[in-house]
Amino acid sequence: MIDKPLFVPAPPFCLEISTPGILDELTLQQTTRQPPASGEVEIQVCAVGLNFKEVMKALGIYPGNSEEYVTFGGDCGGKIVSLGEDVEEFEIADEVIGIAAKSFSSFATVPTHLVVPKPANLSFEEAVTIPGAFLTAYYALYHLGRLKKGDRILIHAATGGVGLAAVELSQMVGAEIFATAGNPQKREFLRSLGIKYVMDSRSVAFADEVMELTDGKGVDVILNSLAGEFIPKSLSVLAKFGRFLEIGKRDIYENSQLALYPFRNNLSFFAIDLGQVWLERPDFTLSLFREVMRCFEDGILKPLPHKIFPIGEVVSAFRYMRKAQHIGKIVVSLTK
C-alpha cells in the first residue's frame, strides 16, 4: 500500500493521533511552542529517531498507555533556540541530540539532563540513531549486566536499534556474541558484522543450538525483547552467575509467571525501562549519556544503519517499522 503524503502545516506543528489504532490516522497538527522552564532548553528539531514504542502507541497497544489522544517522542536532534533560566551549559544555536517527550514536533522542550552536544563528525540523521538505543544497551550490558571480555552474550532480535547497539558494545568489550533475528536477510546482515553464531528469533530451537555451540555451558548474559515462551527458554541457556536483561514490556505488564528453579544457579533478572531511569535518575542518566557520547567522539562506536523518511512521509515511516523488515533505525527528517 502506498501512503498518501501528510499535509505539513506551517511550524510549529506536532504529530498526533486522536484515536490510536490505525496508522493512516496520524496527522501533523499546528501547535504552540512551549517556552523552556528552569533547567530546560527548547530545540528546533531537525531529525527524530522512531522507536518501536511509538508504533505501539499509534496502534493503541502500548502497555499502560490509555487509548486517548497520543503524541510521539523519543530521540531527536536539532538546534537550541531558547534557554530556560539558569541554563549555563548550552548556548543558542548549539547543535544537540537528546530524548524528548514530544520530539515528533517542529520544536521540542527538553530538560538539560537529556541533551548532549551532537558530535561534529555526525549528521543529525546519524546522531539521532544513538540516544535511546545506545543508552538502553549501555545501561543494560555494562551497568546491570557487567559484560566483560570473554563473556558470552545472547542478543535476541539483534537487528533492531537496541540489538545492533548491543552488538557494537559487545564487540567493543570483546564478548562472544550469539544473535537471533527474524528473517534470512537480517541473519545475513548479522553475519556480515562478524558474528559467528546467528539463529532464528521466530523459533525456540535457538536454545538447543546455543547449548550445543557452548558445549552445554550456556551464555553469561542475555539481552531479551522476545515475549512468551522465549523467556523461560532463554533462561534455560543461561550459565551459572548469568544475567538476564529484559527490555521487553509485554510479559511484565501482563504479569506473566516465571518459574524460579533456574535461578538456583546464581542467576539475576533485570527488568529495564529506560524511560523510568531518565525520569527518576536524571544525574545518572546524564553521566551514562556522556560516557556513551565519548565513545562516538572517539570513533569507537558508530551510528546505527538507518533509513530516512521526510516528515511528510511519517506514516510510511511508522508503517515501515510496523512491518518489522527493517535493519537498524528509522529516522524522520524535518529538513529533507
Binding site: G21, V55, L59, A324
Partner: protein
C-alpha cells in the same frame, strides 16, 4: 450483516496491509501469519476491520484466535449481537 461481508472486509484489510498479496487468493482456514504478517501487521488489520464494522472487541477476546475464519466468526457474532 452476513458472514460473507465480514470476511470480505477482513480480506481487503489483509491485502491492504501486507505487500505482495494483491493477486493472492486468501484461504481463511489459514492464519494471517501464514501470509507473512508481523504481529503488528495483524493489530492494524484487526483495528481497520473493527473500525470499518463500527464495532469494538476487547483485545483479550481476540488473543486466542487461530485462523482467519475464527476472526471472521468472532467479528460477525459481535456485529450481529451488538455485544
Amino acid at each position: 450483516m452476513n458472514r460473507e461481508e465480514v470476511l470480505n472486509i477482513v480480506i481487503k484489510n489483509i491485502k491492504l496491509n501486507v505487500d505482495g498479496l494483491e493477486e493472492t487468493e486468501i484461504d481463511p482456514q489459514k492464519s494471517m501469519a501464514a501470509y507473512g504478517t508481523s504481529s503488528l501487521d495483524i493489530v492494524e488489520i484487526v483495528n481497520s476491520s473493527l473500525r470499518e464494522l463500527k464495532i469494538k472487541v476487547p483485545r483479550t477476546q481476540l488473543a486466542g484466535l487461530m485462523n482467519i475464519n475464527d476472526l471472521v466468526d468472532k467479528l460477525t457474532q459481535v456485529k450481529n449481537e451488538g455485544v
